[in-house]
Amino acid sequence: MNDFLTNSHLIGKFTDKELTKNEETRLLSQASHNPLLRNELRLDRDITELIADYDRIQLSETILRTIKNERTKVVIPVYLKVAASVIILMALTALTGLFINYAKQNSGYSVTTYNPLPNPQSKGLLGFLQGYRKSDLPSTPLKRKELVQNNMYNDPYTPRPEYEFLVGTVTRDISVFVISPLPRVKCKCDSLLQFSWRWLSGPVPVSIEITDNHGRIVLNNMQMMDISYVLNTKHWARGLYYYKITAGDELLTMGSISIY
């Protein structure tokens, strides 16, 4: 042990062949009867050999780093991946089926039409698409009046803030130019209100939709190829209404009609 302590600083020099002849002889003679010193000499030689190849050290570091990084990762078993894929596929198929079915029920109206008026009666497919169900619309003027009267607010002129915000909205679409009505119209009950527009680059089907201040659709005239439409408010309840004029999928304008 004492030999080892005395010669510990000489071990490295011995491996590097930097000892003098006398020092080397003395160290080897001491190592011959000291196993610990012999071990140290062998180990030092091994370490020198081990660190001689820099590429190997780099590779070892890369392997150890990869093992450490990959160990912390959560590995999802293959059966779970397959199960998740099947569930996603089934959900997508179901959604596609719903979408196609929905589009079929509402043939003649593009399901992708954007409707800025939230409609509590038909929220569309999972709320993404605004729905227009013909069957929900009042078929006669009397029924329309009943619907509005039954569902009016206490004050039928109460504006809806989200609708008011959109009144006067004009699209940048240049295919149709709306002449009348104005964004905010006041008319008596039992009067005629004219909607008119001009095509700027050829005939385009135009739709008019009128909703009450609850957001319920009371009139929906779709795909008109005329350049005007006259609304008779004879059977309409007094109150505030909002109209929306669209050309194809494009919103042209929005406004409000106050019937008193």
Partner: protein, 193 residues
């Protein structure tokens, strides 16, 4: 996303120490190594050691120009890992149940493969203790491994001259040797007295 690589690409990547290649080998082949080890009384840490050692052995063999890889890397890795684990188990049981006959037996069957295995294990042990060294020692030895001239090391590390660099290097190697010799794992496989 895991891409599928060809055998040649994997061998080339292993030789160049490409991380993407090692990652691919780990992801694709480590489950196989783990199953070899866990089916024969081993745990995850053993499997990781075997995987590391096997790749180092394959790297060393591939560096030898006389060696040609005749099978796929996966097959070769499988056989190396299996042999490595078998020999490690044998040694473990010898140490446990027949300590007295160990030295003689080992001397009798000291093959090339045993040497390679021992070398890989020594290398892993060296790496393990190297990272535990003080910062300046790791830096100094890293420069030394990269064969940086002693003058440059002295300048980078603010040492007064090359003699002092040598003295520090011997000190660091002494420290490393002591750490390795004090490791119980060292006595298991190193052919020291």
């Amino acid at each position: 996303m895991i891409l599928l690589y060809s055998n040649d690409w994997l061998v080339k990547g292993l030789m160049e120490g490409k991380e993407s290649c090692i990652k691919f080998i780990y992801r694709e082949y480590f489950p196989m190594v783990r199953s070899i080890v866990s089916n024969h009384n081993g745990n995850l840490a053993d499997a990781e050691d075997i995987f590391h050692d096997a790749l180092i052995i394959i790297f060393n063999r591939l560096k030898n120009k006389q060696f040609t890889l005749k099978s796929s890397l996966k097959t070769y890795l499988f056989s190396v890992c299996r042999n490595l684990w078998r020999r490690r188990l044998e040694r473990k049981y010898r140490l446990l149940y027949a300590t007295d006959s160990y030295v003689n037996e080992l001397e009798g069957c000291y093959t090339q493969e045993t040497m390679e295995e021992e070398y890989a294990e020594k290398f892993r042990l060296y790496k393990k203790h190297f990272v535990e060294l003080p910062e300046f020692c790791r830096a100094l030895l890293t420069y030394y491994i990269r064969k940086t001239p002693l003058q440059d090391i002295a300048r980078i590390m603010n040492y007064k001259d090359t003699e002092y660099v040598k003295a520090r290097k011997y000190y660091c190697k002494n420290l490393l040797r002591k750490k390795i010799l004090n490791d119980p794992e060292c006595n298991q496989f190193m052919n020291y007295e």
